[in-house]
């Protein structure tokens, strides 16, 4: 009897321990959230005192910023610097929390936050298809309307605005650009000289240049095949030049099929370039950074990348020096279909604002950002971000190249996956490696994409 009692007591103790363990956790969580609210109340307290001191009645607000760039890097620095300035100059009651997520995990992170109805006030995301889902579900602030209300619509660069609207297929703007990039081929001048070739303007010339470089014992092309997108960009290049800038969009709309001859021919072009050995061996194992370094160190002559590549070019570690690398736009196949002044462009990652968290406090910050982003980016980085600016930046020789190219643009086209949903773009990117290795035909590759597209329609 005693023993039975003992057993019962023991068991009861165990259960209690377990429950109290959980209880502890819950208590802690409670305590934590309690702390948080305490903090905020403290914040508002100090804010209130701040109020009375400065005498301006700016709304107190804490915003959450989710970024793929660290606070001291690139656009991350731009955003935090401006936010700090905003706090110092305009609203002392404003505070921000900065969260960093790797760009690979961005989509998943946002998907999770959407599912739990907890989007941050401001977050970095991808333009085009990814934000369309959010727009359709009323998750994003209508930026066009918001800027109109704040009276700062005229601070946006029209080119960037129309590009973003095209990407999301909306009449209004729902995201803020954080860059204006042109894409094309970067080439190593010394190697071109060594092989005695000129910058090609037509696709035929381009292929001839590759052949000549190879004869001279130079690897003509390199690409970040391990990262997949640099390869699909090359297919896209030929699609745009041979079928027109809207060809990929047509296929994504369903008005054309990916298996149509033109698309297959473009995939075939990439496979042919690889089959001739222009990419060297095992291009699918080279990542974009390595490929870029190969161009700079003279191990390969031509490399496709966007204007963000200037970051690597302007670094002190660039072995090619300040004038060793040049740029040319994608060579033309047929001038009447796509002229040389048509560029593949994008706005990089974008900033979006959560609709349910948008209030007066965020609006003030938004206004300040839009007014000052252009100038800040120009003075800090010598970069154009899609906003008007009226300061003269200190441009490096490479940034000048980009600025010149931006000046030549008469028409912008988008990248390969811009109109694809994630399922189709994953397949398009995965199998481009199989295609370039010659393990599947161009026809099969496009068939795979079409199947993924059809499969994702329901």
């Amino acid at each position: 009897m005693k023993r039975r009692l003992l057993a019962v007591i023991l068991a009861a103790v165990m259960v209690m321990a377990m429950v109290s363990g959980c209880g502890n956790k819950a208590e802690n969580a409670g305590a934590n959230s309690g702390n948080k609210t305490e903090d905020t109340s403290k914040d508002t307290d100090t804010a209130k005192t701040g109020d009375s001191e400065t005498g301006d009645a700016q709304p107190a607000k804490i915003i959450k910023i989710l970024s793929i760039w660290a606070e001291d890097k690139d656009n991350g620095k731009l955003i935090t610097d401006l936010t700090k300035k905003y706090i110092a100059e305009v609203n002392p009651n404003f505070k921000y929390e900065f969260e960093l997520v790797s760009s690979d995990n961005l989509k998943q992170k946002i998907a999770t936050l959407v599912a739990s109805d907890d989007l941050p006030d401001v977050f970095v995301y991808e333009s085009g298809k990814p934000i369309v889902d959010l727009i359709e579900n009323d998750k994003l602030v209508n930026i066009s309307k918001a800027l109109e209300e704040l009276g700062v619509s005229d601070m946006m660069d029209e080119g960037a605005v129309s590009l973003l609207k095209t990407l999301s297929g909306t009449d209004d703007l729902y995201d803020l650009p954080l860059g204006m990039n042109v894409e094309g081929f970067w080439y190593n001048k010394a190697l071109f000289e060594q092989a005695g070739v000129e910058v090609p303007t037509t696709w035929e010339d381009f292929e001839a240049v590759c052949a000549k470089l190879q004869e001279a014992g130079i690897q003509p092309l390199t690409a970040g095949g391990a990262d997949k997108w640099p390869l699909t960009r090359l297919v896209n290049s030929y699609v745009v030049r041979s079928m027109g800038g809207d060809a990929m969009k047509k296929a994504a709309d369903g008005t054309a099929k990916y298996t149509d001859d033109g698309y297959v021919a473009a995939a075939q072009k990439l496979q042919d370039l690889a089959a001739k050995g222009y990419f060297g061996e095992g291009i699918t194992t080279v990542d974009q950074n390595t490929a870029g370094n190969m161009l700079l160190s003279g191990k390969a002559a031509i490399f496709y990348n966007g204007s963000w590549f200037t970051e690597a070019l302007t670094a002190d570690t660039n072995p090619a020096g300040e004038d060793g690398i040049g740029f040319f736009n994608i060579p033309v196949v047929d001038e009447s279909i796509s002229p040389i002044t048509e560029y593949s462009m994008n706005c990089g990652n974008i900033l979006a604002l959560a609709q349910d968290k948008y209030d007066e406090g965020t609006a003030g910050w938004l206004k300040y950002m839009v007014q000052n982003l252009g100038n800040e980016a120009m003075t800090q980085f010598g970069a154009v971000k899609g906003y008007k600016y009226d300061v003269a930046g200190d441009l490096s020789s490479y940034s000048k190249i980009v600025a010149d190219e931006l000046g030549k643009v008469t028409k912008a086209t988008t990248w390969y996956e811009a109109g694809m949903n994630s399922e189709t773009s994953t397949v398009a990117q995965d199998y481009v490696q199989t295609l370039i290795n010659g393990d599947m035909t161009a026809k099969e590759y496009m068939q795979f994409i079409q199947d993924a597209y059809d499969g994702s329609q329901y």
Binding site: R3, R4, L6, A7, V8, L10, A11, A12, M14, V15, A17, M18, K107, Q108, A111, T112, V114, A115, S116, D117, D133, N137, T222, G225, A226, K228, G280, E281, G282, I283, T284, T285, V286, T290, N293, M294, K299, N421, S422, E423, T426, V427, D430, Y431, Q433, T434, N437, D439, M440, D451, G455, S456
Partner: protein, 294 residues
């Protein structure tokens, strides 16, 4: 004490806390997945009841078939490699290795404690072909086997093999230590007796050691099986599932379906499938044990 343990109610009380915890942490998510699998879309965005449509889709999905085949191949190669080489190494430690025992054992065990991402990066460098030959390709080209130099992880034909080799290298030390422990437990007299009876090395292993090692072998097989079914991080670190989908496993496919394509319902079906695969596979391995008892 006997009275306490002989009492069913007492046992139930002792088991209950652990069982409760296990149920909440393990069983509940599994049931949750099954519940999710009859819906489509992402909870919070689009979330509709579709019944068994997701299950039907699985049968026609060639991407799923591809991932399944890749995964099964990988399980077969890596399981045999890890356990087989682990056993060979253990025998080597026990019967042939006389000097530097501890040093060699430590060296063989060392890869087990390395983080997967670091190992992945290491092997990326070993298999490298562009811009410079990695270790493997430079050895091949230096000993005159230039025709064998190839992008090991950059082509479908060799990528899965290269990945398997890496994972075998990582884990064989772990299994060798387990087997070595088991071999030390076998009394020396038995081995002596077998030798006196005229057993050669092969027969000694076949007739004496392997029956005695059977329980440990089965344990190791189950370890290895559950590890390889989950094939994810090493493939991600070495090849990102590429080239194409040559090293894309079931879990990677599930991940992209659920989190990249935003089809949590369909992803849950794949998760349920992986769960069943684990259960069935473990049962199959356990059958070897059954036969013995019968």
């Amino acid at each position: 004490m006997k009275n306490v343990l002989g009492n069913k109610k007492a046992i139930a009380l002792f088991v209950l806390p652990g069982l409760l915890l296990y149920t909440i942490i393990v069983m509940l998510p599994v049931i949750w997945s099954v519940y999710y699998s009859v819906y489509e879309g992402t909870p919070g965005l689009k979330w509709n009841f579709v019944g068994l449509a997701n299950y039907e889709r699985l049968f026609h999905d060639k991407n799923f078939h591809n991932a399944l085949i890749v995964n099964l191949k990988y399980i077969a190669i890596v399981m045999i490699g890890q356990v087989g080489l682990g056993l060979l190494l253990a025998l080597f430690f026990r019967f042939w290795l006389t000097k530097f025992k501890n040093v060699v054992r430590t060296l063989v065990f060392f890869p087990v404690v390395l983080p997967t991402v670091a190992v992945g990066q290491l092997f990326v460098k070993i298999y490298e072909i562009q811009p410079n030959y990695g270790l493997l390709n430079s050895i091949l080209s230096n000993i005159g086997l230039q025709h064998l130099v190839q992008p090991w992880i950059g082509q479908s034909s060799t990528a899965l093999g290269a990945l398997s080799a890496m994972d075998i290298w990582v884990a064989m030390g772990f299994y060798s230590v387990i087997f070595y422990g088991a071999l030390l437990d076998i009394p020396g007299e038995i081995i002596e007796a077998a030798k006196i009876d005229g057993c050669n090395a092969f027969n000694l292993f076949r007739r004496v050691l392997s029956p005695l090692l059977k329980p440990i072998t089965i344990t190791c097989m189950i370890f290895s099986f559950t590890g390889t079914v989950k094939m994810f991080e090493s493939a991600l670190a070495l090849t990102k599932g590429g080239p194409g989908s040559a090293t894309k496993s079931l879990s990677m496919f599930m991940y992209s379906v659920s989190f990249t394509y935003g089809k949590v319902g369909y992803g849950s079906v794949i998760a349920v499938f992986i769960f069943l695969l684990c259960v069935v596979g473990s049962r199959l391995i356990n059958l070897f044990d059954r036969k013995e008892k019968a």
